[in-house]
């Protein structure tokens, strides 16, 4: 069965500092990987996705993620964090984007200090 591990429950970074959120997945075949962001009480917004091809994917809001098959990882990065990036971030894996369910990680809450 698919599973997603986000080892960091909370992360605090200073505004302007770089950010890396970790995500490890377990899935037998080629995974479809996603990062979503959720502000308090709000819906889930897709930041980026990996289906195939280039293992470094660019997303919205200056985020990027790198798929590393050998490490079963899909870490999210941003070179310079803004205060508005404070939110909860979920990594998710899908067996296929063709109508299959997503399995989410537990989420990482990002706090940004000024």
């Amino acid at each position: 069965a698919q599973s997603v591990t986000q080892p960091d429950i909370h992360i605090t970074v200073s505004e302007g500092a770089s950010l890396e959120l970790r995500c490890n997945y377990s899935y037998g075949a080629t995974p479809y990987l996603f990062w979503y962001v959720q502000s308090p009480g709000q819906g889930l917004q897709l930041l980026l996705k990996y289906f195939s091809g280039d293992t470094l994917v660019q997303g919205i809001k200056g985020f990027e993620a790198e798929f590393k098959r050998s490490q079963s990882s899909f870490n999210l990065r941003k070179p310079s964090v803004h205060w508005s990036d404070a939110a909860e971030y979920f990594c998710a894996v899908g067996a296929s984007v063709y109508g299959n369910k997503l399995v989410f990680g537990a989420g990482t809450i990002l706090r940004v200090k000024s």
């Binding site: 996603f34 979503y36 009480g41 709000q42 819906g43 889930l44 917004q45 897709l46 996705k49 289906f51 979920f90 899908g94 984007v97 063709y98 109508g99 299959n100 369910k101 997503l102 399995v103 989410f104 990680g105 537990a106 989420g107």
Partner: protein, 113 residues
């Protein structure tokens, strides 16, 4: 661009009552998913529909049922509500044959008192 619409946004019910949540997918999307997110939890998949047929089932209680209608909107019916059903319920939609990712609605916050 049109997004996934969920209604109502907020709902307060008493124990043992019933609730109906509605989801209107993005136009031309044919697949709908329902997720439940408890307080401080990650979203958990409940059920999905493709072309009005159930396509997958997750941890949906027997007290819940759902369907997708001819206009592709979906409804999640919840009966005999329990305090533990208090959560944020998300609907997402995608276009199966065009390999699109799922787009999420803003969610319905259900509070059972």
């Amino acid at each position: 661009a049109a997004g996934v619409i969920q209604s109502p946004r907020h709902l307060i019910k008493e124990k043992r009552e019933t609730a109906t949540l509605k989801c209107y997918p993005i136009p031309r999307h044919d697949t709908v998913y329902w997720y439940q997110q408890g307080p401080g939890q990650d979203p958990q998949f409940l059920i999905s529909f493709y072309e009005k047929m159930q396509s997958d089932k997750g941890s949906i209680p027997d007290r819940f049922s759902a369907q997708q209608f001819s206009d592709y909107h979906s409804e999640l019916n919840m009966s005999s509500l329990e305090l533990g059903d208090s959560a944020l319920y998300f609907c997402a939609s995608s276009l199966y044959r065009m390999n699109t990712e799922a787009f999420f609605g803003q969610g319905t916050r259900l509070t059972v008192v």
